[in-house]
C-alpha cells in the first residue's frame, strides 16, 4: 500500500479527458453528469438557503422587519419549492448516485447514458421555468399548491407547476436508469446480496421515482388546465373537489418524502460501516426495510389530511399504516448503532455527519410517531411542530446524509482532500444551529403556533427569535463548508485511491477515476463490508 506522500493525481482522468466545454455539455459519462447535477443542485441549495434566512430574519419579531405580507408568502413558497423540487429530490440520487452507483456496481456507466444526459437538460429546463416564475411573479401558494387558492391567486402558479412537471421527467429518467442499471449492469460476481446497501437504497428510491412521479405530473396538468380552462375538477365553484387535489398531491408527495430520505439512509449505511471499520449489522434487514418502506409509503398519503374532513374510517386506516412505516425506519437506526458496536471508529468529517444524522433523524422519526397518533395530529397539524418534524427528517436526515456523502466521496470526485479541521468546525456549527432553529419549533408548535404565518402573537416571540439566531448559525456553517470544499478542489493534497480504507468498488479505481471508470474489468473478490476478513489500509 502506498503511503500518503506517494499519492498522485492520475494524469488522465474523467475531469480532463476529453477536454473542452463541448465535451462536458455533450458528455455521456455518468461521473460528469453527476458532477453537473451537483453544481446545479448546489446553486439551488444556496438560493433556497438564502430564502430560508430571509424568512427567519423576517420572523425575528412579529413586526414587519424586512418584507411585507405578500413578499413573505412568496418567500416561503419559493423556499419550499426550490428546496424540495430542485435540491433534495435530485440531490442524492441524481448528483451523488449518478457518480457513485455505476462505480459501486463495477459498471462502466449507467444503462442509458443518453437518457442520463437528457435528464440533466430536462432538469435545467424545468429549473428555467421556475426561475422565470421567480423573477416575474413568484407563486404565493406554499409548495403544496392547494386548490382552490392556487386556482385563484394571480401569481405565476402555471410556470412554477409546469417547471415541477418538467422536473418530474428528469426524476423519472434517473429512476428508470438506475433500476435498469442495477438489474443489468452489475459486475461479474456482484450478486444482489453482495451489492453495497447504497445500491439497495437507490433501487428502492428509483422504484418510487418511477411509480409516484407520473401522478404528480398529471395532477399538475389538471391544476394548470383548471387555471387555463376552468375545467371544474378541483374548483368547487365549478362542481369540482379541492380535497381530491389533496389526495392526488399527497399520493405523490408522501412517497416523495421517501424519495428524499431513502437515499439518505443509503449513504448512512455506507459511512457507518466504513468509519466504524466493521461489517454492517443486519444487511438483509436494512436492504429489505428499504423496499418495505417504499411499498408502504404508497399507502399512507392520507395522514397529511387528518383534518381535511376525510372520513373517520380513512383517517384510522391511514394512521395505522403510518405506524407500520415507522417500524422499518426504527430498525435501521438500531442496525446502524449495532454496526458501531465493537468497531474501530474514526471520527472523521463524514462520520461526524453520520452521527449527526443518527441523532437528528431519530428525533425526526420519533416526532413522526406523535403526528401519526390521530388525536395529537389534530392538535399539532399545520403548526410549527410539523415544520420542525419535516426539517428534522429532511434536513437533519437527508441533508446531513448528503453532507456525509459529499465529505465521503469528495476525495473520489476530485482526487483531493479537504481541510479536516474546518470540516469539523462546520459540522459542529450546523449541528448546533440546526437544533437551535428547529427544536424550538417543536415547542412553539405544541403550544399552538400555526405555520405559514407572516406575523405572530407576542407570546411566541422569544422562541421565534432564538430560532432565527440558530438559522444564521447554520448559515455560517455552510459558508465555512463552501470555502474549504472549494479550496480542496484546487489546493487539497492528493487523496489516493482509498483515503478512508473502504472496501466497496468505487475505491478500487483511481481518484479521480478514469474516463471508463476502471482500467481493467473489476472482479468482485470480497463483499463491500468484509472488514472482518480483509485487511485494508487507508491511503490518506
Amino acid at each position: 500500500m502506498s503511503t500518503a506522500s506517494a499519492n498522485v493525481i492520475p494524469e488522465r482522468n474523467y475531469l480532463n479527458d476529453p477536454k473542452g466545454l463541448k465535451s462536458w455539455l455533450l458528455t455521456k459519462d455518468h461521473k460528469r453528469i453527476g458532477l453537473m447535477y451537483l453544481f446545479a443542485i448546489m446553486f439551488f441549495f444556496l438560493l433556497g438557503g438564502i430564502f430560508a434566512l430571509l424568512i427567519r430574519w423576517e420572523l425575528l419579531t412579529p413586526a414587519v422587519d424586512i418584507m411585507e405580507h405578500d413578499t413573505y408568502n412568496k418567500m416561503f413558497t419559493l423556499h419550499g419549492a426550490v428546496m424540495i423540487f430542485l435540491f433534495i429530490i435530485p440531490s442524492i440520487p441524481a448528483a451523488l448516485g449518478n457518480f457513485v452507483l455505476p462505480l459501486m456496481l463495477g459498471a462502466k456507466d449507467v444503462a442509458f447514458p443518453r437518457l442520463n444526459l437528457a435528464s440533466w437538460y430536462v432538469y435545467c429546463l424545468g429549473a428555467l421555468f421556475m426561475i422565470y416564475a421567480l423573477v416575474t411573479n413568484p407563486a404565493d401558494t406554499g409548495w403544496t399548491f392547494y386548490t382552490p387558492y392556487s386556482t385563484q391567486t394571480n401569481t405565476a402558479v402555471i410556470s412554477t407547476t409546469l417547471g415541477v412537471f418538467i422536473l418530474g421527467f428528469s426524476s423519472i429518467f434517473t429512476g428508470l436508469n438506475f433500476i435498469v442499471t442495477i438489474h443489468k449492469l452489475r459486475a461479474p460476481g456482484m450478486t444482489w446480496f453482495r451489492m453495497p446497501l447504497f445500491a439497495w437504497g437507490t433501487y428502492a428510491t428509483a422504484i418510487l421515482q418511477v411509480l409516484a412521479t407520473p401522478v404528480i405530473g398529471i395532477t399538475f396538468v389538471l391544476l394548470i388546465m383548471e387555471r387555463l380552462l376552468g375545467i371544474g375538477i378541483f374548483d368547487p365553484a365549478l362542481g369540482g373537489d379541492p380535497v381530491l387535489y389533496q389526495h392526488f398531491f399527497w399520493f405523490y408527495s408522501h412517497p416523495a418524502v421517501y424519495i428524499m430520505i431513502l437515499p439518505g439512509m443509503a449513504i448512512i449505511s455506507e459511512t457507518v460501516s466504513v468509519f466504524s471499520h466493521k461489517k454492517i449489522f443486519g444487511y438483509k434487514l436494512i436492504a429489505f426495510s428499504s423496499l418495505g418502506i417504499a411499498f408502504v409509503s404508497f399507502l399512507v398519503w392520507g395522514h397529511h389530511m387528518f383534518t381535511s374532513g376525510q372520513s373517520e374510517l380513512a383517517a384510522i386506516m391511514f394512521s395505522f399504516l403510518t405506524f407500520l412505516v415507522g417500524i422499518p425506519s426504527g430498525i435501521k437506526v438500531f442496525n446502524w448503532l449495532a454496526t458501531m458496536y465493537r468497531g474501530s471508529i474514526s471520527l472523521e468529517a463524514p462520520m461526524l455527519y453520520t452521527l449527526s444524522f443518527l441523532i437528528l433523524f431519530t428525533i425526526g422519526g420519533i416526532t413522526g410517531i406523535f403526528l401519526g397518533a390521530l388525536a395529537i395530529d389534530i392538535h399539532v397539524h399545520d403548526t410549527y411542530f410539523v415544520v420542525a418534524h419535516f426539517h428534522y427528517v429532511m434536513m437533519g436526515g437527508t441533508v446531513m446524509a448528503f453532507l456525509a456523502g459529499i465529505h465521503y466521496w469528495w476525495p473520489k470526485i476530485w482526487g483531493r482532500m479537504y481541510n479536516e479541521f474546518w470540516a469539523k468546525i462546520a459540522c459542529a456549527l450546523i449541528f448546533i444551529g440546526f437544533n437551535m432553529t428547529f427544536f424550538t419549533q417543536f415547542i412553539m408548535g405544541t403550544q399552538g403556533m400555526p405555520r405559514r404565518y407572516f406575523t405572530y402573537l407576542e407570546q411566541y416571540q422569544p422562541m421565534h427569535g432564538f430560532s432565527s439566531i440558530g438559522a444564521f448559525v447554520i448559515g455560517a456553517g455552510f459558508v465555512i463548508m463552501a470555502v474549504y470544499l472549494i479550496a480542496a478542489i484546487f489546493k487539497g493534497r492528493p487523496a489516493g485511491n482509498n483515503p478512508w480504507g473502504s472496501l466497496s468498488f468505487e475505491w478500487l479505481t483511481s481518484s479521480p477515476p478514469p474516463h471508463g471508470n476502471f482500467d481493467e474489468e473489476p472482479v468482485l473478490e470480497h463483499g463491500p463490508y468484509d472488514y472482518d476478513t480483509i485487511e485494508v489500509v487507508a491511503t490518506k
Binding site: L176, P214, V215, I218, M225, G230, I231, I233, F248
Partner: protein, 216 residues
C-alpha cells in the same frame, strides 16, 4: 464509443458486455416507461371514477352526446394498426425490410385516420359548445355540472391523442431506420420497443372507448 475492433458489433454500446444484455436492458427500461404512462393515465381514470360516482346521472346523460359509431370505428382502426405494427416487427426480424416499411406506413396511415376521425368529433363538439369547463356553452343538457364530463372527455382523449402523435413520430423514425438498413434480424430492439409503446396507446384507447362512449 463504438469499439468495433474488439468484436463489439457496431450497435453495441461501450458499457454493455454483449448484445443480449443491451437488449434486455432496453426492454426493462421500456416496460418501466410504460408503467409510468399507465400511472399518468391512472390519475385521469381516478378523476373519472370520482366524478362519475359524484354525478352518475349527469355522466349518463352527457355520454349520449358522444358519437358511438365514430368511437367504434376508431377502436377498429387502432386495433388494426396494432396488428400491422406487430407484423412490421416480424418482418424486420425476418430481414424483410421492404415488407416492414410497407407495414409501418400502413400503421402510420391508420394512426392518421384515427386522428382525422377524432378531429371531426372534436370540431362537432366545439361547434355545439360542448367545451371543457368554463368555455362550456351547450344548453341541451340538464343535470349537475355537465361541463365536468366534457372536461374529463377532452383531457383523456386529448392526452391520448398526444400519445398517438408521439407514436407517429416514433414510427416515422423507424421507417427511416429500416430504410437505412440499421435494423435487422440481428438487432431490432428499437422497433420492438416502438411496438410495445404503440400497443400501450392502443390499450389505453380500448379502456377509454367503453368508459366514455358506452356508459350503461
Amino acid at each position: 464509443m463504438h469499439d468495433v475492433a474488439d468484436g463489439h458489433p457496431s450497435f453495441l454500446q461501450h458499457h454493455f458486455f454483449e448484445p443480449e444484455q443491451q437488449a434486455e436492458a432496453a426492454k426493462l427500461g421500456t416496460w418501466l416507461f410504460l408503467l409510468t404512462e399507465i400511472l399518468l393515465f391512472g390519475g385521469l381514470f381516478c378523476a373519472y371514477a370520482v366524478y362519475r360516482a359524484w354525478y352518475p346521472d349527469m355522466f349518463y346523460e352527457a355520454h349520449l352526446q358522444l358519437n358511438v359509431v365514430l368511437g367504434a370505428t376508431n377502436t377498429v382502426v387502432l386495433i388494426t394498426s396494432s396488428v400491422t405494427m406487430a407484423l412490421a416487427i416480424r418482418a424486420v426480424q425476418m430481414n424483410k425490410s421492404k415488407q416492414a416499411i410497407w407495414l409501418l406506413v400502413a400503421t402510420l396511415a391508420f394512426a392518421c385516420t384515427f386522428l382525422v376521425i377524432k378531429y371531426f368529433e372534436y370540431s362537432h363538439k366545439f361547434h355545439l359548445g360542448q367545451l371543457p369547463g368554463k368555455y362550456y356553452s351547450f344548453t341541451g343538457l340538464e343535470g349537475n355540472n355537465p361541463h365536468v364530463f366534457f372536461s374529463v372527455y377532452f383531457l383523456m382523449t386529448g392526452l391520448h391523442g398526444f400519445h398517438v402523435l408521439g407514436g407517429m413520430g416514433l414510427i416515422t423514425w423507424m421507417i427511416v431506420k429500416v430504410s437505412k438498413g440499421k435494423l435487422s434480424g440481428e438487432y431490432y430492439t428499437p422497433i420492438e420497443m416502438t411496438g410495445l409503446y404503440w400497443h400501450l396507446v392502443d390499450m389505453i384507447w380500448i379502456f377509454l372507448f367503453p368508459l366514455l362512449y358506452l356508459i350503461g
